[in-house]
Symmetry: C2
């Protein structure tokens, strides 16, 4: 471009070609608005990493432009990165009451309360940030108080749906803002960013009320204690469990830190209605008749330290599962968690419990919080965008969402499947994608943010596979002869007591390597180390078919 | 028991409360017959372990009694442990032709050909081993040539089903031996061991022919190259792919070591009929028009080094996936593999291929090889056993199988859900379970069998999570003063260049710990090491919230 135009730019810093770590940026002129700031869990190759958050280099480089962070809802993949990012970039955070309640609890944990401006909004809010006007529309999802956002700029309107489904019979009677969406669409949408989680799934996602019916049926049939495990943040489901407990005359006990936390925040803010005297302490459960108790607990994904896992292994201090008790897992296993969940079901059956588990479509104990294909088409049809950017999903989901958009009439040339960091620029009503900004995964490990990189991970992987073999030799500073060693220490390689011969042979090989070098005029220790590493590595592999990390250490005295 | 009776004993050394590593033992008097000798893959907590096989201590302790190993079919969870076990316990192996072909190929790989007596049997075989008479019955499964076994002893008949389904329209027209099973049942079955893999699944597993129809439809529709990935050992499915290729005038290329291996063995032995001139080399694929080619490949479980993964990442040397090609994943992901398969589908979509993937019940491209509930009830009804031991499955599957057995009339007191190692003894027509024999997981890591145990694994885990921190100090033999160091070396802990301050501080803390000890009369290096470990560990955790392995090394000069 020759003349300096005011660009409207849209970019994902996280959330495309992946599930989780959502973060989107809308930039117009001197104003940047950030949407969401999520985290995701590492896969098993990222050894020792606790959490992944987006790389915010671009935001730090342009920090004076960043005016606001708007958070669509309170799930971890939308709020989990906030405490880490706010430490580096203090920016006002806008969200609904429940979402802000969950964010505040997170900030408190990180010792950040009061350090950031938190601004409560709702679906009726309307305000400007710089030249960008903001309106919102209510959506349904597996947590209350979710928003879609319309950003109106001089260039046109950009809509971001957040996570959504169309639940036309929502548990909290907070219906989706169909008319608002229609109105936004009528006024013209330049670009739509819509979530793709269930874009592979045909049909219409069932209403959360369906789960409520099945819960109530199970409660009516149970003759003893009922344990029910679900995502703590699914306040709608918690409400239906409370309602079923009330109808069947049971008290409710809560197990698990996040369950206690969410119930406390949600009921304090009025999102969860719990009859007085219904809640009992975990320590009081045994004082009630079994048919008078429901235990609502965390751990539906099989997390080894969570309440359900402890109950299944009879290692919970206060509450026990007895023969004949009913255990309901009101969730579907996220891929990767099936084996842990299966182990828990096995243990519960060992305890002679009745277990209701398995896919939600079979048990009726779970429905998705995300729009299926027909709902995605409905959103596209309401918004009638000129440009479409499918977000929130791995490539195959974005790809399916593209096909849906084409099917409802979006011009296929106007659909952008982007990678994180790819910028879609729009100027004079025309979009193009030519530039990229820094992006990536920032690893959180303990207190470190971004201090673990590829080298550290490669070393962890090497040691995880075959351990480490340390060869230490003390050489004389004077003439380089061996003063002590080589001593061979191994960890995670072989059981030492049964492998003394092998380790002795390693020592002999190291001596030979050193002596051969001493006959030459090589004098750098680096060459010594490399030679020891190679000759020991070769021997160890031929003997064991293992490749431990080999770490030669030379001490000069 | 006061008088010495001849016991009939049944025990699992692997395969109950787990999937895989099947091994069962039937013992009567001085004769032991082993059924199957499988392996299983480690879960992600068993770092660096290649394979798990059964602990065969009991067999080694009684090696003179062990007369035969009978193998029901050629899947890894039934034959994978054979080379490792034969190295320690040479025993004649009985199996059908295809099964033996697969076993022989495995023995060749391990340099064991010719060292063991291999005896071909078929469903018509009948012979005695000591006082035990053996008969067989043909079953259907996702590999041809499967057997169930009836062991007739003076005490009664024990039936082991192997893996099975009732495919009444089998691809190879080898129908299940319903009449033989009925006859065995009529003659009286004392104890039935029946597989439980699909005991949670209602209904009747569809015939493999269903997959053939869907493959043919997809082949008819494809306009370019077709890639189809399935388990190499599913010879029925390979046959149906070959048949569909023939009908649609396509040549077939094979990719992947196990695909080449199974096709070669199965066609040589007559289990796979491939028209002359149909097979082409991978290197020749590009010489044919795209609509004339089918590539049959390994990697349907997303294995990162297998053919499908290489194709998806465009890193296969000879064959490429082009836009418009069709890729069929004719398999269902085994739990734990979903993420790898999903990554492959993403990559294939990136290449603009048409991809047919997902659950077999949706795509019709996969059916299970295992009996569902109605077939399990059919087997129980045919056999009418007095005692029932559900096998092959995790606890919840064994539990569901028990319920099925009760439903068809087996006395609930006569059903034994056992753990590996639990012995069911039967004498005078009465079964009881009171004793246990040694059992467990033997780990294979490289060339080592059983040399990696809990200590090694614990160390690997520690280093995988947070790396290692080595603190080396050279002390004078004379007076214990520090001659050199402490030097601090870390691997997999922090990125060293950015953490020099931290490592310097570790060194200072080590010096302080040593100096404090020098002021006392402690002189054992063990105490020095422990003190360094603790003080450094405390500091590192408080500073980073990580717990690397801390390895103090003291060199005396």
């Amino acid at each position: 471009m020759k003349t300096k135009e005011t660009l409207l730019s849209i970019v994902a810093l996280g959330g495309v070609n992946e599930i989780g770590k959502n973060m989107y940026v809308i930039e117009y002129g001197d104003d940047i608005i950030v949407i969401d700031c999520g985290s995701k869990f590492p896969d098993e190759s990222l050894l020792g990493i606790d959490l992944i958050i987006p790389d915010i280099t671009y935001l730090l480089d342009n920090h004076s432009k960043v005016k606001a962070m708007i958070v669509t809802h309170g799930h971890e993949d939308h709020i989990g990165g906030i405490p880490y990012v706010l430490k580096q970039l203090n920016v006002p955070v806008y969200a609904t009451r429940l979402t802000l309640g969950l964010i505040e609890s997170k900030l408190k944990e990180h010792g950040l309360s009061g350090s950031t401006e938190l601004i409560i909004i709702d679906s009726e809010s309307q305000f400007n940030i710089g030249e960008i006007g903001l309106r919102f529309f209510r959506t349904n999802h597996s947590i209350p108080d979710c928003l879609g956002i319309a950003f109106t700029t001089p260039e046109g309107t950009v809509v971001h749906t957040g996570d959504f489904k169309f639940d036309l019979t929502p548990v909290n009677e907070q219906y989706p803002d169909l008319h608002r969406m229609a109105e936004i669409g009528m006024n013209g949408v330049l670009a739509l960013l819509s979530e793709s989680t269930n874009a592979e799934r045909p049909g219409f996602t069932p209403s959360e009320r369906l789960v409520g019916q099945h819960i109530e049926e199970a409660f009516v049939q149970a003759r003893q204690k009922i344990f029910i495990s679900t995502f703590a943040s699914n306040v709608h489901r918690l409400q239906q469990i409370i309602d079923a407990a009330e109808k069947t005359g049971r008290k409710v006990a809560l197990l698990g830190r996040s369950m206690l936390n969410v119930v406390s925040i949600a009921s304090e803010l009025g999102y969860l209605r719990i009859p007085d005297t219904m809640l009992v302490e975990a320590s009081e459960v045994n004082q009630y008749a079994p048919e008078k108790i429901v235990v609502m607990c965390t751990g539906s994904q099989g997390e080894p330290m969570a309440a359900l896992s402890r109950l299944a292994s009879s290692s919970h201090r206060q509450v026990k599962v007895h023969p004949g008790d009913t255990v309901i897992i009101a969730a579907t296993s996220i891929p990767g968690n099936e084996r842990n969940v299966a182990r828990i079901v096995d243990n519960l059956y060992q305890l002679k419990a009745k277990v209701i588990y398995g896919s939600g479509t079979v048990t009726g104990m779970h429905v998705s919080g995300h729009a299926s294909q027909d709902e995605l088409k409905l959103m596209l049809s309401l918004m009638k965008p000129k440009y479409f950017i499918p977000i929130h999903g791995e490539f195959r989901m974005l790809h399916q969402h593209r096909l849906l958009a084409e099917a409802v009439g979006v011009d296929k040339n106007n659909i952008f499947i982007v990678n994180n960091g790819d910028v879609v620029d729009i100027v004079h009503n025309k979009a193009f994608q030519t530039r990229k900004i820094p992006n990536g995964n920032t690893f959180v490990d303990g207190l470190g943010i971004g201090d673990v990189g590829n080298i550290v991970l490669r070393d962890r992987k090497l040691m995880a596979e075959d351990g480490i073999l340390i060869v230490i030799v003390t050489l004389s500073k004077m003439d380089g002869h061996i003063l002590s060693g080589p001593d061979v220490i191994s960890r995670g390689f072989v059981y030492v007591r049964e492998s003394e011969g092998l380790l002795d042979e390693v020592s002999r090989i190291a001596v030979k390597a050193i002596e051969q070098l001493q006959d030459t005029d090589v004098s750098q220790w680096g060459v010594y180390k490399q030679t020891i590493k190679e000759s020991v590595g070769r021997f160890v592999y031929s003997y064991t078919k293992r490749r431990p990390m080999i770490l030669p250490i030379i001490i000069e005295v």
